[in-house]
């Protein structure tokens, strides 16, 4: 392995890390602004011009708060919980293809940290670990409301992962690959998966809402019932990490939806460009799509009420999973038919 590759990958890791954190930070600002606009308010406008320094002020506030650990909690698990949440939220960004390859100093640089050939499986693996952060945090707090939040979160995530996984099989069937790079490449130009698999997208989208604990599936924190849910006992930056992890995973989920269904960095008319122009335009297209989904996530949160726990389970097991299975079967049959297997 040559040094140039190491430097290239290392700088890419740093950049992606910073971008993820930056976008997550400004998602909090944007969420508050959007909520304010939806609710006919002004929103944060004190820190800096248009309140643009608000995320920094929030971060400083979080660090300055007393870091309180409840007396009867399990100290180490209590500390590990938010860490796991943050770690799993960030690590998914390694396999996201941010754009077409770019050429710098005569080197062809791929805008993807690691091109796993099992990319989709990796996502599911990491997402499954993500629930441990909430579970461990809620359990270690030694608070009944936290425990309720943890139980709700774990059963919710396990249920919705199934539907998510089954729905994604159709995309794998269409592309014939588990690698995210191949999935993006197969959607060249306007050949996006959404036009072939709208039902699959709908299921995946609903599951993403549930996986990221966003309204209407935010039962794990559910401030009107469980006080603060799994993070009731958390304070200072530990709470900050939990909240931040939610925004990071929202960003990653939006990015995944853009990649899997909306062509990732592909955009109509991309054949007219090449080289670095294409790369830059591709990155722009990718982020536009991602931000659009982040906006939809927030729009939903501030518009509709949340489900009750049993209704959530009913929706997951009785609606989404059967729908995903039927969708998968139909897709499989159609593909088999096209290949002349009948």
């Amino acid at each position: 392995m040559d040094t140039a590759l190491l430097i290239e990958k290392f700088s890419l890791v740093i950049i992606v890390f910073l971008i993820s954190l930056g976008i997550a930070a400004y998602s909090t600002y944007f969420e508050r602004k959007l909520a304010a606009w939806i609710q006919d308010r002004i929103g944060p406008d004190r820190a800096g011009p248009f309140g643009l320094l608000q995320p920094i002020a929030d971060g400083v506030k979080m660090f300055m708060k007393e870091d309180f650990i409840p007396k009867n909690s399990d100290k180490w698990l209590f500390i590990i919980g938010p860490g796991i949440s943050m770690f799993t939220a960030l690590i998914t960004s390694t396999i996201i293809p941010w754009g077409p390859p770019i050429e710098i100093f005569g080197r062809q640089i791929s805008l993807q940290i690691a091109d796993f050939n099992i990319g989709v499986l990796f996502i599911f693996g990491v997402v499954s670990i993500g629930v441990y952060g909430i579970m461990i945090g809620g359990w270690a707090s030694n608070n009944k409301y936290s425990l309720f939040g943890a139980i709700r979160a774990s059963s919710q995530m396990i249920s919705y992962e199934l539907a998510m996984g089954i729905s994604l099989i159709t995309i794998i069937l269409l592309t014939g690959s588990l690698s995210l790079t191949d999935i993006v490449k197969s959607q060249h130009g306007m050949n996006w998966n959404i036009f072939y698999q709208p039902v699959c997208f709908l299921i995946f989208f609903i599951c993403s809402l549930a996986e990221t604990n966003r309204a209407p599936f935010d039962l794990a924190e559910c401030e009107s019932e469980l006080v603060g849910g799994y993070h009731t006992e958390y304070s200072s930056m530990k709470l900050g990490l939990f909240l931040f992890a939610e925004y990071v995973s929202m960003f990653i989920s939006s990015a995944l939806m853009a990649i899997l269904f909306f062509g990732g960095y592909n955009f109509p008319g991309m054949d007219y460009f090449d080289g670095n122009t294409l790369a830059i335009l591709g990155v722009l297209a990718f982020f536009t799509k991602t931000f659009l989904f982040i906006f939809v996530f927030m729009w939903i949160r501030w518009t509709i009420p949340r489900f009750r726990f049993d209704q959530l389970m009913h929706l997951g097991w009785k609606t989404l999973i059967p729908a995903a299975i039927i969708n998968m079967l139909i897709t499989a049959i159609v593909i088999a038919f096209n290949k002349g297997w009948f």
């Binding site: 939806i38 609710q39 309720f148 009107s224 518009t303 509709i304 009420p305 209704q311």
Partner: protein, 408 residues
Amino acid sequence: MEAKEHYKANELTDLSKDTIDGEIATINFGPTHPSTHGIFQNVLQVDGEKIVSAEQTVGYIHRAFEKLAERRPYNQITPITDRLNYCSSPINNIGWEMTVEKLIGAEIPKRVQYMRVIIMELARIADHLICDSVIGVDAGALTSFFYPFTEREKIYELYEEICGARLTTNIGRIGGFERDFNETFHTKLKSFLKTFPPAFEEFNSMLERNRIFMDRTKGAGPISAERALNYSFTGPNLRAAGVDYDVRVAQPYSSYEDFDFNIPVGVNGDTYDRFMVRQEEIRQSMRIIQQAYSNLPEGPYKADLPEFFLPPKAEVYNQMEALIYHFKIIMGETHIPAGEVYHAVEGGNGELGYYLISDGGRNPYRLQFRRPCFIYYQAYPEMIKGMTISDAVLTLSSMNVIAGELDA
């Protein structure tokens, strides 16, 4: 163990069909829980998410209003009533004033009665708006809280024009008002009558037919008409259960018989019905305000009761009688004839009654508030038995139990 016995002994719901698997946990739902909207405590025994039994506590903000009233002159009791149901304090104020007027047998001018109707219906709208938007908040839709608040603010501005205060209004006097509606009030009321209905329908459309909201609220915390009557429910919560009892129609006061309005009733007595009944009552209140305002009679804005209205300063300095009345009012020496009276108004939450015994002195011998919230809260454990914690939250907010009225 104790909870399990309690669970088996309970015959009110058909929980006995289910079995309890695992342990029963006790959780404190309140007094500092975010969704109790005030200081209530409920000790819930839960089997997972399901509530096996509940026990409620009252008295966290008991301020001994009834005892306080025994040491206060009559006109100084009005500010106490502000603090009962603080979401609709004008109704409390006016209800109390009418109780005293009933005892002394005062003749109230038609204009005062109509003015009171306008104010009380505005207060009812404000009260129901809070309740319905809070149901939305507890169901997780925070935006539904902000939409009606813009309109509710206009109602508070109207209070301000009449009495200068917004929350604890102390509106009116025994026998009428301290001043007539001013020009600003007329302008603001006219603009409110125009802007409120579309804004209200916008708020309504956020929740009324929302599938998630309907799924959440339908069947949550139901009570049958029979059980509700046994608990002596009144107001929107009783009407949601299907009984068309409304004090405004059953025992009309303040010229309510002059107006044409409907009494909405529900079917199941669940959270959704309570929400819908309140929404419809807001529309009916708008009808009443429109009728009362367009037919507002000319005449004096106060009854001929000089012992309750401070005379103008010029008269106090120059006339004997005015000086005497001024002295008596300021020193709280206005005596009321001996007697016993019960007067009820349709408050924001139901029949708000004042039972007053006077021994002829300067303050009541005994005063009892019939507080509807106190009665609703008794039925709360029965209503949430077998429901989930989420339902318990919605039931509490949809019954509109207000801490100030609960504990008096």
